[in-house]
Symmetry: C2
Subunit: 321 residues, 2 copies
Amino acid sequence: VVQHIREILGGGIEAFGLRDDAGVLALPGTGPAEGERSLIVSVDTVVEGVHVDPALCGPPDIGWKALMGALSDLAAVGADPLGALVALCVPAGSGSGELAVGVMEGVAEAAQTSGCAVVGGDVSSAAQVVVSVTVLGTVEGGGPPPVSRSGGQAGDVIMVTGPCGGSAAGLRTLRAGPGPRAAGRMDAAATCAARAYCRPVARLGEGTTARRAGAHAMIDVSDGLALDLHRLADASGAGFELARRAIPLGEGATLAEALQGGEDYELVVVADEAASRALAADLEASGLRRPVRIGMLVADPAVRTLDGDPLPRVGWQHRLA
Amino acid sequence: VVQHIREILGGGIEAFGLRDDAGVLALPGTGPAEGERSLIVSVDTVVEGVHVDPALCGPPDIGWKALMGALSDLAAVGADPLGALVALCVPAGSGSGELAVGVMEGVAEAAQTSGCAVVGGDVSSAAQVVVSVTVLGTVEGGGPPPVSRSGGQAGDVIMVTGPCGGSAAGLRTLRAGPGPRAAGRMDAAATCAARAYCRPVARLGEGTTARRAGAHAMIDVSDGLALDLHRLADASGAGFELARRAIPLGEGATLAEALQGGEDYELVVVADEAASRALAADLEASGLRRPVRIGMLVADPAVRTLDGDPLPRVGWQHRLA
């Protein structure tokens, strides 16, 4: 379906946003004197009951997750956030106003945490909560351009900016427990789990640092480390070899959750040896976490292994019939 | 609710998009040498069963209406379109792919008609069709800035760029008739009605021409001429006196439909006498329709009349409990 939509839009119309997560626009009026500045745009939607379980996440969590999911697309190209627009639908009737306000409180918290202004919005009624967030970002002229998924080269180091699977483990823990609305009664592990699932953080600082350090390719872990790494390898025309014990696991997470869980929003960064070292030093100098090396890109696109065994293309895939 | 949301976002966060239909961002990197270029952003949502009746509009019509409704916010400030992002939800299951493609076909047609590239998108499942469109536009540096709703002055001429009520009349005709899916059997009047309701056009050329001609204030007729004019008068701190016989009626439309119907997307332009004449000449020179004078702004904000009688604040108002 997405392929068909691309074709429809392809007739004289740019559609890079549908080829990748984030679209890149050259800004008219930014002259070559200062270097062409790029405007980065992306949209992400959270639907109640599809992307988020309202029994486990409160309205502010839904708003937070929606904005952070969209911002993660900016992080993955190394852009700085410029602003966000929020299209919110809530069911009509009693309590709808309170619900809308609750979602927007979470959006505002995530916006303040990320330094991203909310510059537009719209509230409608629908059968369920739907939050579509469009984010705008910029990449300064003169420096390295926005990082794509496609620039990876054989021999590049594959790094991840932090532990994976924490969100999936959090979801599992919440499903087994009393839910966040009983927060007063949650123990420390449950609180931590709720945080990983309900309040993920887009890695904006890591993304811009990696771009400036010369990363060849990046992708954010939105659908699971395995699936997202397959996508980066597809775009780069490469294969990969991962080391199982190198993969950092989120709080309470299993390896399967790290590979398939998604919504961790850590970044997978691919770079040559020199840039990898520079990135580690730059992140540490900025007070950010050191990236973790998990494997290498290889020339043969058919090689996609974890400790030598084929790594299946598993993860969250949204299907339309 | 919207007021409360503004307050939440107001804590150190810009929220002009919620004060008005379109937000204005200064673009970092566009120096004063060439004049500060403005980026204009807006988001608009169409929900099946709330904003559009799927028995009367096909999927491409829904896509068309969603993009044109968002573009109309750019027209109302006099901006040129730069790109659009489309967040589409369709019900899961059999036929969902076909439905998504159908909606996007209409988006693509509207995009080509308007010269606006689709630069990003996202497809999810939900209980009903939801199309949220974010549009980006620019206003060149050095010329008149984006036009707000608030610049109207007592003595200004009130103009409208074309007939109003055609969309509401079209909806009424379609409800009485066989619907657009029986297009082969529709007579000319029904075809025309379907066009006005299902395929409105954002007045982008008129908007930029009016900005350059020196319009003091503008608003697009999205919720009905009466309500939208009240909003412009509120923002400008002014009253208005309209002449009933001057109001141009859309095909088959009653005066009530023109005043309350909405979704015509004609522009209400307010300007002094000299700018009004310049605008009429400029539009004619561009091959666009001459604007129609329908009244004057007056100093007393309490005066809001049609042929001397108070004009009620009627029109489409989206309410949340």
